[in-house]
């Protein structure tokens, strides 16, 4: 049954003492999705993922994986889990670590050995298989950790901040692997606070803040629902002449200004054409003017900003 969600979370809550890390969170991840769990630091992403993996138990609510409630550990042979905090046994040899971790997931020894060789070759680490983990560079250790996560070719990958701390080359390598596995039919859920990465790989997103869900759904759907008219502008000269126009609240509701480049949300009823005329009239040297969908970053800032404000009101009330 293709339509069955691979992950179904219903109303989970987790408290640590007085602090509510996750509050009444529900979400479902469709089979085959690349699902981004987005939120600022401390939003409850890691806690949610740990509850998925059965590492900590929710105080309330239920988690169903692959259609049952047995928890992540019982499905470990089908799940590849990459925690936010990474590490391997520094004194063990690379291939032995990989084989050991595969064995703990229930993979047979001969299969584990063969797969370890294949993956080491694929990520250009074959020459390092017999070396101790501590003799590898940090980047290589991260690749080994990824291999450990994916070696048993799981149907579901749960990655907590997979791109944090990676250099651009490794980021590219890992992104390629994720896309490859997704094409091969795997479901991938990963948390991040890097919106640009999420925007490029995810087809579904869920934004959480302060332990609560702010929004979720397919990426296209989320963008469509967010509404408003969005324009990207770029200037050759820094756009000083355009600043008064961008700052005009009657014209531009919100501006995400990067200096020479800006993403603008137009005020209600304003057409892009009106803005373009004003900009040209100002004498600013326009390099780009494009009617765009709202970026995930814009949506994130709007939604999380709103959630922050709401939470602040909640605190004030409390």
């Amino acid at each position: 049954m293709i339509s069955d969600p691979i992950i179904q979370i219903d109303g989970i809550t987790k408290r640590f003492g007085e602090f509510v890390a996750v509050s009444n969170l529900s979400l479902s991840v469709p089979r085959g999705a690349v699902y981004g769990l987005l939120g600022p630091n401390g939003a409850g992403k890691t806690t949610t993922i740990r509850m998925l993996m059965d590492i900590i138990l929710p105080d309330e609510g239920t988690v169903r994986l692959f259609g049952d409630a047995r928890g992540g550990r019982e499905h470990s042979a089908e799940i590849g889990y990459l925690p936010e905090e990474r590490g391997l046994y520094p004194k063990m040899r690379v291939k032995e670590v990989l084989v050991f971790l595969a064995l703990t997931k229930g993979v047979k020894r001969d299969v584990a050995q063969r797969k370890a060789d294949e993956w080491l070759e694929r990520l250009e680490l074959s020459a390092w298989g017999a070396k101790r983990v501590q003799d590898l560079s940090k980047g290589m250790q991260q690749k080994v950790q990824f291999i450990a996560t994916m070696l048993h070719e799981p149907a579901l990958l749960i990655l907590d901040e997979p791109f944090s701390g990676l250099d651009p080359i490794n980021t590219q390598t890992i992104k390629d692997v994720i896309v490859h596995l997704s094409r091969a039919g795997a479901t991938i859920i990963f948390s991040t606070h890097q919106m640009d990465v999420a925007e490029r790989i995810c087809d579904h997103v869920c934004i959480i803040a302060h332990g609560r869900k702010v929004l979720d759904g397919g990426l296209a759907e989320v963008k469509r629902v967010h509404g408003g008219t969005h324009v990207a502008v770029a200037f050759d000269d820094g756009g000083d002449a355009a600043m008064p126009i961008i700052g005009d609240r009657a014209l531009v509701a919100k501006a995400d200004d990067y200096g020479g480049y800006a993403e603008l949300a137009l005020a209600d009823g304003v057409e892009p054409q009106q803005l373009l005329e004003r900009l040209v009239g100002s004498g600013a040297r326009l390099r780009r003017f494009e009617h765009i969908e709202p970026s995930l970053n814009r949506i994130f800032l709007d939604k999380v900003g709103a959630a922050d404000a709401e939470s602040a009101r909640g605190v004030a009330r409390g």
């Binding site: 993996m53 059965d54 590492i55 900590i56 992540g72 550990r73 470990s76 799940i79 889990y81 925690p83 905090e85 990474r86 590490g87 391997l88 046994y89 520094p90 004194k91 063990m92 050991f100 971790l101 064995l103 703990t104 997931k105 229930g106 450990a148």
Partner: protein, 424 residues
């Protein structure tokens, strides 16, 4: 179960491959050979043949007796020098010079008053040698006593007879009858067993702590507990490390058995004279002893490794572990502090009590079993109390471990540990 086995295998192989294991496993038998052969070598070559002077200031026949006493047994070679009261100072100066030039080791001064007062004087460079002084004292005491008896008219034949060599040899009596073991051999065996139990339990339990802490520090723990239940992980760890302990004790046991069996060949290899070799007593180790040592090692190791695992789980760094392990170490320490008392009186009240308390019984009971007879009922009680404690402690430890391995930062207090142990 396959998952637990993977952990057991990793813990075992990683340790057995380490230099630490190789060195300690080889050093064990080397140490055994040293403690067995060294005394024999020393007994064969050391001591004997001290060259001393005897300054006789008119003591009469007492000096003759002294020379005879000193020279029997070839422990001393004596140069006798007689001097009148007026020449005594000069003779003393001359002897002192001979000591300083190392011509002699020292000299004994006997005067006419010695027989009455029982006082002699010895001057020499070897006065700090306990063995030399004990021999001198014994010889002097014998000589003075015989001279006094003779002068009171006791038959010289009787005096002679009274001097015949006296020695008390000790043989241990057990329920099975008089054993061939001497007191020394029993003491030696009991001491070694107690020491090995303490070392093995302590070292391997601390190894479990290090292993727990390593997984926490490297953060690999989170990957592990996503596929293994914390208890499976702890179980695999304890079995794997314990297996290494058993392997090492096995190697040492085989080495000890071989040493006992082939001791004459070993002594010959070290050129120990046959006479000295025969004097070295090596204990016989019975099968019951082996089984007992194994049972107490396993239970003692389980008990302490569970407690040390808790320490590893509640700390985040090596330095913190050093502090946090102190209560557990303190719990073990009384077990070795009472070594001498238990060896002295293996059936005394202290030995009885210490043999029942589970934190010490793994060390005390094998000592008692080696040095005396332990009633079977007491042995059973001791093992039962220990086993019950192991079950309880492991249960609590596993619950604290489960929570602690994912906690970083401030070390929890006692109240918090109790809460961890209680929560489901």
């Amino acid at each position: 179960m396959d998952k637990v086995w993977a952990v057991v295998r990793r813990e075992f192989i990683e340790r057995v491959r380490s230099k630490w294991f190789l060195i300690s496993t080889v050093l064990g038998p080397v140490f055994m050979i040293v403690v067995t052969v060294l005394p024999a070598v020393l007994a064969g070559s050391g001591g004997g043949g001290r060259h001393i002077g005897l300054l006789d200031e008119g003591s009469g026949t007492l000096a003759d007796r002294l020379v005879t006493q000193l020279e029997t047994g070839n422990q001393f070679r004596v140069d006798r020098l007689s001097a009148s009261e007026s020449g005594a100072a000069a003779a003393m100066t001359e002897l002192t010079e001979r000591v300083q030039t190392k011509a002699i080791d020292g000299f004994l001064v006997v005067t006419g008053a010695t027989l009455e007062s029982g006082k002699l004087e010895y001057r020499g460079q070897n006065v700090s040698s306990i063995r030399d002084m004990a021999l001198l004292q014994a010889a002097a005491r014998q000589a003075v006593m015989m001279e006094r008896l003779t002068q009171r008219g006791v038959d010289p034949g009787v005096v002679q007879e009274s001097q015949a060599h006296i020695s008390v040899s000790t043989l241990r009596i057990s329920k099975r009858g008089t054993t061939g073991e001497t007191g020394e051999a029993t003491f030696f065996l009991a001491y070694i067993i107690g020491f090995v139990m303490y070392m093995a339990i302590f070292l391997y339990s601390v190894n479990v702590m290090r292993s727990v802490l390593e997984e926490k520090q490297t953060r690999i723990i989170e990957v592990l507990v996503s596929s293994l239940r914390p208890f499976q992980l702890l179980l695999g760890k304890v079995i794997g490390v314990g297996g290494v302990g058993l392997l090492q004790m096995g190697v040492w046991g085989v080495a000890a058995a071989a040493l006992i069996r082939y001791r004459l060949a070993v002594f010959a290899a070290f050129k120990v004279p046959a006479q000295a070799a025969a004097a070295i007593q090596l204990p016989a180790i019975a099968g019951g002893m082996v089984a007992l040592v194994l049972a107490y090692f396993l239970l003692g190791y389980l008990l302490y490794s569970a407690m040390f695992a808790v320490v590893g789980a509640i700390v985040s760094s090596d330095s913190e572990a050093q502090q946090a392990q102190m209560p557990v170490v303190m719990l073990l320490i009384p077990g070795i502090l009472v070594f001498p008392a238990v060896l002295n009186d293996p059936s005394g009240p202290l030995s009885h009590v210490m043999g029942l308390v589970p934190f010490w019984s793994p060390i005390i009971m094998p000592i008692r079993f080696a040095a005396s007879d332990v009633p079977p009922a007491e042995l059973a009680a001791s093992l039962a109390i220990l086993a019950a404690t192991v079950v309880g402690v492991v249960w609590v430890a596993a619950r604290i471990y489960r929570v602690g391995i994912l906690m970083y930062g401030k070390r929890p207090g006692i109240a918090e540990l109790v809460r961890w142990a209680r929560q489901s």
